[in-house]
Amino acid sequence: MTEISTLNDFAVQVRRDIVRMVHAVQSGHPGGSLGCTEFATVLYNDILKHNPKEWDMDGKEQDLFFLSNGHISPLWYSVLARTGYFPITELATFRKLNSRLQGHPTTHEGLPGVRISSGSLGQGLSAGIGAALSKKLNNDDHLVFVLMGDGELQEGQVWEAAMFAAGNKVDNLIATIDVNGQQIDGSTNDVLNMGDLKAKWEAFGWQVLSMKGNDLEEVRATLLKAKTQTGLGKPILILMETIMGHGVDFMMAGHKWHGIAPNDEQLVDALKQNQSTLGDY
């Protein structure tokens, strides 16, 4: 296991990457990206059994990760680059013409680490289930991880998938929901109150855990615990409480920073709060 201080350095550098990438093209989604930074940091450094250098689409004998809330691509790209999937210099091409780092993740340009397009919300859990079933058919005992947004849960397909995974005992699957309580038009409670998520997922037949998603130690402990609960006949769901925009104080304010870019001054402020640890791209 990695030292927490080392993980923290990684997370801080990822935050810098996120705000710099979004600032450079004045578009993209910093809020959800920053809020899920600790999760992706822990997942890629300490949880996933994976082989970045020899990435291939099938990912046999490896754990797989699917990002269903594809708009938080800046986070994913930064973590993929900094764990060795592609050169960090490529982060400078985010959202630019002829880039592999499309606004929303895609397989179209062949970016290592990405196994399916996402961006149209609500589809990632189904894909994760399919990949998990494929592993079972292949007698591959590795795991499939999925991350979704909480607003994303309003899509009906998520609940079709939830019902299927429990009904079919897809127990090599760990799905996490970014419960930041925010989406585009406002707080999730104001846009469409989803009630008691824990009770809902339990009623659908999932094993439900929860964690504070901006605490590296708690994220790691919970993901490790989730792993011990796989293979027991139930899919696993982690309700991850986060703060949208975490780590940049002025972005930690409701839903405002879901999908807007910082200006020059705000960039300087954000970077001052997150001093370089591993070197900028």
Binding site: V25, S27, G28, G70, R95, K96, L97, N98, S99, L101, Q102, G103, H104, T106, H108, E109, S117, S118, G119, S120, L121, G122, G151, E152, Q154, E155, G156, Q183, I184, D185, V191, L192
Partner: protein, 321 residues
């Protein structure tokens, strides 16, 4: 060439927002639904003025289409709002069964159509929506060209009974249609009379067609320019009258070359007056991230592409003659 000027550039989605609120003031049966994109669709003013008639459904487009269909039972006129890909492909069967086949008076209003939404990339840039929607029996398909025309179209569809797909976009584009020009569903707008070639354009490509017309005039080519804002039902008479005069046509649209305006025009011509035609459209591919300007250039949707297509189609006309 008739001179076209504009005092400002405005986004067509704001034309929709302005039309929606005016339609709402005129007719209290108008209700609006949105799936967590109120600001992007410019529906916030309507939501504020008519909170009881604004329905926030959350990120649930299929549910939105079903609720809209149900609202018509009892006399409401629902306007749904989300991005064009989530207004069509995402919910095609809900539209097909509950709206089109059931003949419900729902107005499907779709922003961020085509490449010009820019950096979000191909997941959000639908180039197939005109084709999908025009294949549905009974569906009216409208793609206005600027702010004023989108506003007028929004008011016109409120008065029209039947399902409508209204397509508009994100970027600011020249607003040159006179504010008082009446919008007639199914009736093409003649922008410039000419004799050598017909250019038929829709949506954001209409202004590019005007620019192309100016360049062609400087080259001594007289272009007839027609704005087809209603792709279905298409104005056959306007197309045939023009082609009988010019004998060749270039169609221009921010859409896949398969299934869009070009094919609609080609069908009219194949049946009634076969003529050489060139397409300015996306060549059967997905889009990608980039600025709107970069994308229009890379995917061949510039005024210069129209000019080239005109030269090509006129050469084909000469060979035939």
């Amino acid at each position: 060439m008739k001179k076209y000027t504009f005092s400002e550039k405005k986004d067509t989605r704001s034309g929709f927002g302005a039309g929606l609120i005016e339609a709402g003031r005129k007719n209290e049966n108008i209700v609006a639904l949105c799936a967590d994109l109120t600001g992007s669709l410019k529906m916030d003013a309507f939501a504020k003025e008519f909170p009881a008639r604004f329905i926030q459904v959350g990120i649930a487009e299929a549910n939105m289409m079903g609720i809209a269909a149900g609202l018509t039972i009892g006399g409401k006129i629902p306007f749904t709002g989300t991005f064009a890909n989530f207004s069509t492909g995402r919910v095609y069967d809900q539209i097909r069964q509950s709206i089109a086949y059931s003949d419900k008076n729902v107005k499907i209003c779709a922003s961020h159509a085509g490449l010009t939404l820019g950096e979000d990339g191909a997941t959000h840039q639908i180039l197939e929506d005109i084709g999908l929607m025009k294949m549905l029996p009974g569906m009216t398909v409208i793609n206005p060209c600027d702010f004023n025309q989108t506003k007028a179209a929004t008011l016109a569809i409120a008065e029209h009974h039947g399902p409508v797909y209204l397509r508009f976009g994100r970027p600011a584009v020249p607003n040159f249609t006179p504010a008082d020009q009446k919008f007639e569903i199914g009736k093409a707008v003649m922008l410039n009379e000419g004799t050598d070639v017909t250019i038929i354009a829709t949506g954001h490509l209409v202004w590019k067609a005007i620019e192309a017309g100016e360049q062609l005039e400087a080259m001594g080519i007289s272009a007839e320019i027609i704005n087809i804002h209603t792709i279905k039902p298409i104005d056959e008479k306007a197309i045939l009258d023009s082609l009988k005069k010019t004998g060749c046509v270039v169609t221009a649209e921010e859409h896949n070359r398969i299934g869009g305006l070009g094919d609609a025009v080609a069908q009219v011509l194949a049946l009634h007056f076969p003529s050489p035609q060139e397409y300015v459209a996306v060549n059967d591919s997905f889009g990608e991230s980039g600025t709107p300007e970069q994308l229009m250039k890379k995917y061949g949707l510039e005024a210069s592409n129209i000019v080239e297509a005109v030269q090509k189609v006129m050469a084909r006309k000469r060979v035939l003659a």
